[in-house]
Protein backbone atom coordinates (compact mmCIF):
# COMPACT_ATOMS: atom_id res chain seq x y z
CA UNK A 1 0.00 0.00 0.00
CA UNK A 2 2.71 2.35 0.97
CA UNK A 3 4.58 1.31 -2.09
CA UNK A 4 1.55 2.15 -4.13
CA UNK A 5 1.14 5.49 -2.37
CA UNK A 6 4.81 6.11 -2.80
CA UNK A 7 4.73 5.25 -6.43
CA UNK A 8 1.49 7.21 -6.75
CA UNK A 9 3.18 10.24 -5.23
CA UNK A 10 6.12 9.85 -7.55
CA UNK A 11 3.76 9.61 -10.51
CA UNK A 12 1.85 12.74 -9.64
CA UNK A 13 5.12 14.57 -8.97
CA UNK A 14 6.28 13.66 -12.48
CA UNK A 15 3.02 14.91 -13.95
CA UNK A 16 3.35 18.14 -12.04
CA UNK A 17 6.91 18.60 -13.27
CA UNK A 18 5.81 17.93 -16.85
CA UNK A 19 2.97 20.40 -16.52
CA UNK A 20 5.31 22.97 -15.05
CA UNK A 21 7.71 22.59 -17.92
CA UNK A 22 4.85 22.81 -20.44
CA UNK A 23 3.55 25.96 -18.81
CA UNK A 24 7.03 27.43 -18.78
CA UNK A 25 7.44 26.66 -22.46
CA UNK A 26 4.02 28.13 -23.27
CA UNK A 27 4.71 31.28 -21.34
CA UNK A 28 8.13 31.63 -22.98
CA UNK A 29 6.44 31.26 -26.35
CA UNK A 30 3.78 33.81 -25.43
CA UNK A 31 6.43 36.18 -24.25
CA UNK A 32 8.39 35.71 -27.46
CA UNK A 33 5.24 36.25 -29.50
CA UNK A 34 4.34 39.32 -27.52
CA UNK A 35 7.83 40.68 -27.95
CA UNK A 36 7.72 39.88 -31.63
CA UNK A 37 4.34 41.55 -32.03
CA UNK A 38 5.51 44.60 -30.18
CA UNK A 39 8.70 44.88 -32.20
CA UNK A 40 7.55 43.52 -35.54
CA UNK A 41 5.51 46.46 -36.85
CA UNK A 42 8.37 48.95 -36.99
CA UNK A 43 10.62 46.30 -38.53
CA UNK A 44 8.08 45.52 -41.25
CA UNK A 45 7.37 49.22 -41.81
CA UNK A 46 11.06 49.91 -42.13
CA UNK A 47 11.35 47.15 -44.72
CA UNK A 48 8.35 48.54 -46.64
CA UNK A 49 9.81 52.00 -46.59
CA UNK A 50 13.11 50.72 -47.93
CA UNK A 51 11.24 48.82 -50.65
CA UNK A 52 9.23 51.93 -51.48
CA UNK A 53 12.35 54.07 -51.75
CA UNK A 54 13.92 51.56 -54.12
CA UNK A 55 10.76 51.28 -56.25
CA UNK A 56 10.34 55.05 -56.36
CA UNK A 57 13.97 55.64 -57.30
CA UNK A 58 13.67 53.11 -60.15
CA UNK A 59 10.53 54.85 -61.43
CA UNK A 60 12.14 58.26 -61.20
CA UNK A 61 15.23 57.10 -63.07
CA UNK A 62 13.10 55.68 -65.89
CA UNK A 63 11.03 58.87 -66.05
CA UNK A 64 14.18 61.00 -66.23
CA UNK A 65 15.34 58.88 -69.15
CA UNK A 66 11.99 59.52 -70.86
CA UNK A 67 12.57 63.23 -70.20
CA UNK A 68 15.93 63.09 -71.96
CA UNK A 69 14.06 61.61 -74.92
CA UNK A 70 11.55 64.52 -74.64
CA UNK A 71 8.72 62.07 -74.19
CA UNK A 72 7.39 61.98 -70.64
CA UNK A 73 3.77 61.04 -70.03
CA UNK A 74 1.40 62.90 -67.72
CA UNK A 75 0.17 59.61 -66.27
CA UNK A 76 3.71 58.76 -65.12
CA UNK A 77 3.93 62.02 -63.21
CA UNK A 78 0.49 61.32 -61.71
CA UNK A 79 1.53 57.82 -60.56
CA UNK A 80 4.71 59.22 -58.98
CA UNK A 81 2.67 61.85 -57.14
CA UNK A 82 0.27 59.13 -55.98
CA UNK A 83 3.21 57.10 -54.66
CA UNK A 84 4.57 60.06 -52.66
CA UNK A 85 1.14 60.80 -51.26
CA UNK A 86 0.63 57.19 -50.10
CA UNK A 87 4.14 57.09 -48.57
CA UNK A 88 3.44 60.29 -46.65
CA UNK A 89 0.40 58.58 -45.15
CA UNK A 90 2.50 55.54 -44.24
CA UNK A 91 0.67 53.32 -46.75
CA UNK A 92 3.78 51.73 -48.20
CA UNK A 93 1.95 48.91 -50.01
CA UNK A 94 0.09 51.49 -52.08
CA UNK A 95 3.22 53.61 -52.43
CA UNK A 96 5.16 50.65 -53.81
CA UNK A 97 2.31 49.69 -56.17
CA UNK A 98 2.09 53.27 -57.53
CA UNK A 99 5.87 53.45 -57.93
CA UNK A 100 5.86 50.23 -59.91
CA UNK A 101 3.04 51.53 -62.08
CA UNK A 102 5.02 54.73 -62.69
CA UNK A 103 8.09 52.74 -63.65
CA UNK A 104 6.10 50.61 -66.11
CA UNK A 105 4.56 53.74 -67.68
CA UNK A 106 7.95 55.45 -67.93
CA UNK A 107 9.44 52.38 -69.59
CA UNK A 108 6.55 52.32 -72.06
CA UNK A 109 7.20 55.96 -72.94
CA UNK A 110 10.90 55.18 -73.48
CA UNK A 111 9.96 52.30 -75.75
CA UNK A 112 7.59 54.58 -77.66
CA UNK A 113 10.21 57.30 -78.13
CA UNK A 114 12.83 54.78 -79.23
CA UNK A 115 10.64 52.93 -81.70
CA UNK A 116 9.16 56.15 -83.12
CA UNK A 117 12.65 57.27 -84.18
CA UNK A 118 12.06 55.24 -87.34
CA UNK A 119 8.34 54.39 -87.23
CA UNK A 120 7.19 58.01 -87.73
CA UNK A 121 8.05 57.73 -91.40
CA UNK A 122 5.27 55.21 -91.91
CA UNK A 123 2.67 57.91 -91.26
CA UNK A 124 4.21 60.42 -93.64
CA UNK A 125 2.24 61.65 -96.64
CA UNK A 126 4.12 60.86 -99.88
Amino acid sequence: MSIVRKSGNRFSKEIMLKNKSRMLRASTLSLALALLMAGATPVLAADSEVDFRAAYAAAETANKEAGLLRNQWTVTAAALAEARKAADKGDFDQAIASSKEAEALAKASIFQATSEKTLWKELEIH
Binding site: R70, W73, T74, S109, E116, W120, L123, I125, H126
Partner: protein, 286 residues
Amino acid sequence: MRSAIHLASAALALAALAFGAVPSAVAADTPNPPADAKAFRDFFTQKFPKVKLEDFVNGPYSMNEDLHRQWEEKEQFPPYEFSVDMGKEMFSKPFKNGKSYADCFPNQGIGIRQNYPYFDEKEGKVITLELALNRCREVNGEPPFSFLKDEMAALTAYMAFTSRGKPFDIKIPDDPRALEAYQNGKRYFYTRRGQLNFSCATCHVQSPGERIRAEVLAPALGILNAMPIYRSEWSGMGTISRRFTTCNTQIRGVPLNPQDDEYRDLEYYLSYVSNGLPISGPGARP
Protein backbone atom coordinates in the same frame (compact mmCIF):
# COMPACT_ATOMS: atom_id res chain seq x y z
CA MET B 1 36.58 25.69 -106.55
CA ARG B 2 32.79 25.53 -106.19
CA SER B 3 32.89 27.33 -102.86
CA ALA B 4 35.13 29.99 -104.36
CA ILE B 5 32.53 30.59 -107.10
CA HIS B 6 29.78 30.82 -104.46
CA LEU B 7 31.85 33.30 -102.48
CA ALA B 8 32.55 35.40 -105.55
CA SER B 9 28.85 35.40 -106.55
CA ALA B 10 27.83 36.41 -103.05
CA ALA B 11 30.39 39.22 -103.02
CA LEU B 12 29.15 40.41 -106.42
CA ALA B 13 25.54 40.33 -105.26
CA LEU B 14 26.42 42.26 -102.13
CA ALA B 15 28.37 44.83 -104.11
CA ALA B 16 25.48 45.26 -106.54
CA LEU B 17 23.08 45.60 -103.64
CA ALA B 18 25.27 48.13 -101.93
CA PHE B 19 25.75 50.25 -105.05
CA GLY B 20 22.09 50.07 -105.95
CA ALA B 21 20.65 50.53 -102.49
CA VAL B 22 22.67 53.40 -101.06
CA PRO B 23 21.69 56.13 -103.53
CA SER B 24 17.97 55.27 -103.29
CA ALA B 25 18.09 55.19 -99.47
CA VAL B 26 19.80 58.56 -99.46
CA ALA B 27 17.29 59.92 -101.94
CA ALA B 28 14.39 58.71 -99.78
CA ASP B 29 15.86 60.30 -96.64
CA THR B 30 16.86 63.64 -98.17
CA PRO B 31 14.25 66.26 -97.23
CA ASN B 32 12.45 67.73 -100.20
CA PRO B 33 10.14 70.48 -98.88
CA PRO B 34 8.53 71.46 -102.22
CA ALA B 35 7.68 67.81 -102.93
CA ASP B 36 6.34 67.43 -99.38
CA ALA B 37 4.15 70.51 -99.74
CA LYS B 38 2.72 69.27 -103.03
CA ALA B 39 2.03 65.80 -101.62
CA PHE B 40 0.45 67.38 -98.52
CA ARG B 41 -1.86 69.59 -100.54
CA ASP B 42 -2.77 66.78 -102.96
CA PHE B 43 -3.61 64.47 -100.08
CA PHE B 44 -6.17 66.86 -98.61
CA THR B 45 -7.67 68.09 -101.84
CA GLN B 46 -8.17 64.50 -102.96
CA LYS B 47 -9.58 63.47 -99.59
CA PHE B 48 -12.01 66.42 -99.60
CA PRO B 49 -12.69 67.16 -103.28
CA LYS B 50 -15.65 69.43 -102.47
CA VAL B 51 -13.66 71.76 -100.22
CA LYS B 52 -12.13 74.76 -101.97
CA LEU B 53 -8.40 75.04 -101.38
CA GLU B 54 -8.64 78.40 -99.60
CA ASP B 55 -11.40 77.04 -97.36
CA PHE B 56 -9.10 74.59 -95.59
CA VAL B 57 -7.91 77.49 -93.44
CA ASN B 58 -11.30 77.43 -91.71
CA GLY B 59 -10.49 74.11 -90.07
CA PRO B 60 -13.50 72.12 -88.89
CA TYR B 61 -15.84 74.68 -90.47
CA SER B 62 -14.61 73.64 -93.89
CA MET B 63 -15.54 70.01 -93.31
CA ASN B 64 -19.28 70.16 -93.96
CA GLU B 65 -22.03 72.57 -94.96
CA ASP B 66 -23.71 72.78 -91.56
CA LEU B 67 -20.48 73.70 -89.85
CA HIS B 68 -19.66 76.16 -92.61
CA ARG B 69 -22.99 77.91 -92.01
CA GLN B 70 -22.22 78.05 -88.29
CA TRP B 71 -18.90 79.68 -89.10
CA GLU B 72 -20.51 82.27 -91.37
CA GLU B 73 -22.93 83.19 -88.61
CA LYS B 74 -20.15 83.36 -86.05
CA GLU B 75 -18.17 85.69 -88.27
CA GLN B 76 -20.98 88.27 -88.09
CA PHE B 77 -20.23 88.80 -84.40
CA PRO B 78 -16.76 87.31 -84.08
CA PRO B 79 -15.79 86.26 -80.55
CA TYR B 80 -12.16 87.26 -81.16
CA GLU B 81 -12.98 90.89 -81.92
CA PHE B 82 -12.15 92.12 -78.42
CA SER B 83 -8.70 90.58 -78.79
CA VAL B 84 -8.00 92.36 -82.10
CA ASP B 85 -8.99 95.68 -80.50
CA MET B 86 -6.81 95.01 -77.48
CA GLY B 87 -3.88 94.03 -79.70
CA LYS B 88 -4.24 97.14 -81.82
CA GLU B 89 -4.18 99.34 -78.74
CA MET B 90 -1.16 97.53 -77.31
CA PHE B 91 0.62 97.67 -80.62
CA SER B 92 0.30 101.43 -80.94
CA LYS B 93 1.18 102.22 -77.33
CA PRO B 94 4.89 103.06 -76.94
CA PHE B 95 7.11 101.23 -74.46
CA LYS B 96 8.58 103.16 -71.52
CA ASN B 97 11.65 103.94 -73.63
CA GLY B 98 9.49 105.59 -76.30
CA LYS B 99 9.91 102.84 -78.89
CA SER B 100 7.15 100.48 -79.96
CA TYR B 101 6.51 97.07 -81.52
CA ALA B 102 6.55 98.71 -84.93
CA ASP B 103 10.26 99.45 -84.47
CA CYS B 104 11.06 95.74 -84.18
CA PHE B 105 9.43 94.54 -87.40
CA PRO B 106 9.67 95.07 -91.14
CA ASN B 107 6.92 97.32 -92.57
CA GLN B 108 6.22 98.52 -89.01
CA GLY B 109 4.73 95.10 -88.27
CA ILE B 110 1.70 95.61 -90.52
CA GLY B 111 0.73 92.84 -92.98
CA ILE B 112 3.72 90.62 -92.25
CA ARG B 113 2.14 87.64 -90.43
CA GLN B 114 2.37 85.47 -93.56
CA ASN B 115 6.19 85.56 -93.39
CA TYR B 116 6.39 83.99 -89.91
CA PRO B 117 8.02 81.80 -88.80
CA TYR B 118 11.28 82.39 -90.63
CA PHE B 119 14.69 80.80 -90.36
CA ASP B 120 17.27 83.18 -88.91
CA GLU B 121 20.60 82.31 -90.50
CA LYS B 122 22.56 84.32 -87.92
CA GLU B 123 21.07 82.44 -85.01
CA GLY B 124 20.64 79.19 -86.92
CA LYS B 125 17.12 78.76 -85.58
CA VAL B 126 13.46 79.26 -86.41
CA ILE B 127 11.95 82.54 -85.21
CA THR B 128 8.20 82.57 -84.67
CA LEU B 129 6.04 85.66 -84.41
CA GLU B 130 5.36 84.99 -80.72
CA LEU B 131 9.06 84.72 -80.01
CA ALA B 132 9.86 87.86 -82.02
CA LEU B 133 7.22 89.81 -80.07
CA ASN B 134 8.62 88.83 -76.69
CA ARG B 135 12.17 89.53 -77.86
CA CYS B 136 11.00 92.94 -78.98
CA ARG B 137 9.64 93.59 -75.52
CA GLU B 138 12.77 92.40 -73.75
CA VAL B 139 15.14 94.37 -75.95
CA ASN B 140 13.09 97.45 -75.06
CA GLY B 141 13.23 96.77 -71.34
CA GLU B 142 9.74 95.30 -70.99
CA PRO B 143 8.99 91.94 -69.31
CA PRO B 144 7.95 89.12 -71.66
CA PHE B 145 4.34 87.97 -71.87
CA SER B 146 3.13 84.40 -71.45
CA PHE B 147 3.34 82.74 -74.85
CA LEU B 148 -0.02 81.06 -74.39
CA LYS B 149 -2.88 83.60 -74.26
CA ASP B 150 -4.15 87.04 -73.25
CA GLU B 151 -1.68 89.77 -74.29
CA MET B 152 0.32 87.53 -76.64
CA ALA B 153 -2.87 86.29 -78.27
CA ALA B 154 -4.07 89.88 -78.63
CA LEU B 155 -0.87 91.07 -80.31
CA THR B 156 -0.75 88.14 -82.72
CA ALA B 157 -4.49 88.49 -83.39
CA TYR B 158 -4.00 92.10 -84.45
CA MET B 159 -0.98 91.27 -86.58
CA ALA B 160 -2.79 88.36 -88.23
CA PHE B 161 -5.78 90.62 -88.88
CA THR B 162 -3.56 93.04 -90.81
CA SER B 163 -2.42 90.12 -92.98
CA ARG B 164 -5.80 88.61 -93.74
CA GLY B 165 -6.00 87.19 -97.22
CA LYS B 166 -2.25 87.25 -97.77
CA PRO B 167 -0.90 83.80 -98.64
CA PHE B 168 1.57 82.06 -96.34
CA ASP B 169 5.03 82.67 -97.75
CA ILE B 170 7.46 80.66 -95.64
CA LYS B 171 10.94 80.33 -97.03
CA ILE B 172 13.58 77.71 -96.46
CA PRO B 173 16.94 79.32 -97.18
CA ASP B 174 19.80 77.40 -98.74
CA ASP B 175 21.22 76.47 -95.38
CA PRO B 176 21.47 72.88 -94.12
CA ARG B 177 20.39 74.04 -90.66
CA ALA B 178 17.13 75.39 -92.10
CA LEU B 179 16.48 72.10 -93.84
CA GLU B 180 17.27 70.28 -90.61
CA ALA B 181 14.80 72.47 -88.69
CA TYR B 182 12.15 71.75 -91.32
CA GLN B 183 12.86 68.01 -91.11
CA ASN B 184 12.77 68.08 -87.31
CA GLY B 185 9.37 69.77 -87.48
CA LYS B 186 8.12 67.15 -89.88
CA ARG B 187 9.37 64.35 -87.64
CA TYR B 188 7.66 65.92 -84.64
CA PHE B 189 4.40 66.15 -86.59
CA TYR B 190 4.36 62.46 -87.44
CA THR B 191 5.83 61.06 -84.21
CA ARG B 192 3.42 59.32 -81.86
CA ARG B 193 3.63 60.39 -78.25
CA GLY B 194 1.72 60.35 -74.98
CA GLN B 195 -0.03 57.41 -73.39
CA LEU B 196 -2.69 57.58 -76.11
CA ASN B 197 0.04 56.97 -78.71
CA PHE B 198 -1.18 59.78 -80.98
CA SER B 199 0.85 61.94 -83.33
CA CYS B 200 -0.36 65.29 -84.65
CA ALA B 201 -1.03 63.39 -87.89
CA THR B 202 -3.26 60.83 -86.16
CA CYS B 203 -5.94 63.50 -85.73
CA HIS B 204 -5.14 66.02 -88.43
CA VAL B 205 -4.10 63.76 -91.34
CA GLN B 206 -5.75 60.43 -90.67
CA SER B 207 -9.01 61.69 -89.17
CA PRO B 208 -9.93 65.26 -90.21
CA GLY B 209 -13.68 65.76 -90.51
CA GLU B 210 -14.32 63.00 -87.99
CA ARG B 211 -15.37 63.56 -84.43
CA ILE B 212 -13.29 63.14 -81.35
CA ARG B 213 -15.91 63.33 -78.63
CA ALA B 214 -18.01 66.39 -79.60
CA GLU B 215 -15.33 68.08 -81.70
CA VAL B 216 -14.79 67.85 -85.44
CA LEU B 217 -11.09 67.48 -86.21
CA ALA B 218 -9.46 70.07 -88.43
CA PRO B 219 -7.33 69.15 -91.45
CA ALA B 220 -3.60 69.85 -91.04
CA LEU B 221 -3.55 71.80 -94.30
CA GLY B 222 -4.01 75.46 -93.36
CA ILE B 223 -4.32 74.65 -89.67
CA LEU B 224 -2.08 77.54 -88.55
CA ASN B 225 -3.47 80.12 -90.96
CA ALA B 226 -6.29 80.97 -88.55
CA MET B 227 -4.12 81.39 -85.46
CA PRO B 228 -4.52 82.73 -82.88
CA ILE B 229 -8.02 81.45 -82.17
CA TYR B 230 -10.91 82.02 -79.82
CA ARG B 231 -11.93 78.60 -78.56
CA SER B 232 -15.23 78.10 -76.82
CA GLU B 233 -13.58 75.20 -74.96
CA TRP B 234 -11.00 77.64 -73.54
CA SER B 235 -13.52 80.47 -73.09
CA GLY B 236 -10.86 82.70 -74.49
CA MET B 237 -8.06 83.24 -76.94
CA GLY B 238 -5.10 80.95 -77.47
CA THR B 239 -1.88 81.18 -79.45
CA ILE B 240 -0.08 78.56 -81.49
CA SER B 241 1.95 77.76 -78.36
CA ARG B 242 -1.26 77.12 -76.46
CA ARG B 243 -2.56 74.87 -79.23
CA PHE B 244 0.61 72.76 -79.35
CA THR B 245 0.95 72.36 -75.58
CA THR B 246 -2.72 71.48 -75.02
CA CYS B 247 -2.61 68.94 -77.88
CA ASN B 248 0.28 67.24 -76.10
CA THR B 249 -1.55 67.23 -72.78
CA GLN B 250 -4.73 65.85 -74.34
CA ILE B 251 -2.87 62.76 -75.52
CA ARG B 252 -1.38 62.40 -72.01
CA GLY B 253 2.06 63.61 -72.94
CA VAL B 254 3.95 66.13 -70.84
CA PRO B 255 4.12 69.25 -73.01
CA LEU B 256 7.45 70.89 -73.72
CA ASN B 257 8.02 74.52 -72.83
CA PRO B 258 6.36 76.96 -75.21
CA GLN B 259 8.82 78.01 -77.92
CA ASP B 260 11.17 75.09 -77.30
CA ASP B 261 13.01 74.17 -80.50
CA GLU B 262 10.67 71.28 -81.27
CA TYR B 263 7.59 73.53 -81.31
CA ARG B 264 9.34 76.21 -83.34
CA ASP B 265 10.39 73.61 -85.91
CA LEU B 266 6.90 72.12 -85.95
CA GLU B 267 5.44 75.54 -86.68
CA TYR B 268 8.00 76.03 -89.45
CA TYR B 269 7.06 72.72 -91.09
CA LEU B 270 3.29 73.16 -90.76
CA SER B 271 3.40 76.73 -92.06
CA TYR B 272 5.62 75.80 -94.99
CA VAL B 273 3.33 73.01 -96.20
CA SER B 274 0.45 75.51 -96.12
CA ASN B 275 2.27 78.00 -98.30
CA GLY B 276 -0.07 79.72 -100.73
CA LEU B 277 -3.12 79.45 -98.47
CA PRO B 278 -4.42 82.74 -97.09
CA ILE B 279 -3.97 83.99 -93.55
CA SER B 280 -7.44 83.94 -91.95
CA GLY B 281 -6.52 84.68 -88.36
CA PRO B 282 -7.67 85.39 -85.86
CA GLY B 283 -10.14 82.55 -85.98
CA ALA B 284 -12.86 80.99 -83.88
CA ARG B 285 -13.21 77.34 -83.04
CA PRO B 286 -15.73 75.30 -81.06
